[in-house]
Amino acid sequence: MLETVILIVFAMIGVSLLLNLWRLVVGPSIPDRILALDTMYINTIALIVLYGMNMGTSLYFEAALLIALLGFVSTVAVCKYLLRGDIIE
């Protein structure tokens, strides 16, 4: 049963990644695109955790942690650039 559930959740996260990609391409303003990119980072963490569960190894959690860290830092850096016109003043 667990294999089927993991496949269903894979499909759900894939659909949500496609919706985020649509918002990233269409999005009328720049903060919309940054929000879509941030959501794509979080969905990628979910995808990596699920892939690790599918493979039966917990080797992928370090990659998920790295993606979480880089996603947060890049979101804050781009927002800072939008607010100030500069990242480090």
Binding site: R23, L50, M53, S58, L83
Partner: protein
């Protein structure tokens, strides 16, 4: 029994992530669009990581701390990035529809 718990947690997490992305696409203006990802994906990621913790505790190599680490990190950093996004949206004076609440609280600078 444990398989049922893991399956329900996984399905709950996946549907919360899907609801967050649908909210990101369907909502009319940016101030409403921020609600979907910052709330629903945090809850969905918490559900998925709890499911992963139960899975590795039951089938694999024992309960590890890394899931709690990722979940705590996302819980701490999601409000900060939401705050920075709403600051930049107010700074750029984005359009909003009539029924968006709280526009009176925005200061003129």
């Amino acid at each position: 029994m444990m398989e049922w718990v893991i399956s329900i947690l996984l399905l709950l997490g996946g549907s919360l992530i899907l609801v967050g992305s649908i909210g990101l696409v369907k909502m009319p203006d940016f101030f409403m669009r921020l609600h979907g990802p910052t709330k629903a994906t945090t809850l969905g990621m918490a559900c998925l990581l709890f499911a992963a913790m139960a899975y590795y505790g039951f089938y694999g190599e024992g309960v590890s701390v890394k899931e709690i680490l990722i979940s705590m990190f996302l819980l701490i950093t999601a409000p900060i990035s939401g705050y920075m996004l709403i600051k930049s949206a107010i700074h750029h004076r984005l359009d909003s529809i009539e029924s968006t609440r709280g526009k009176d609280n925005i200061e003129e600078d």
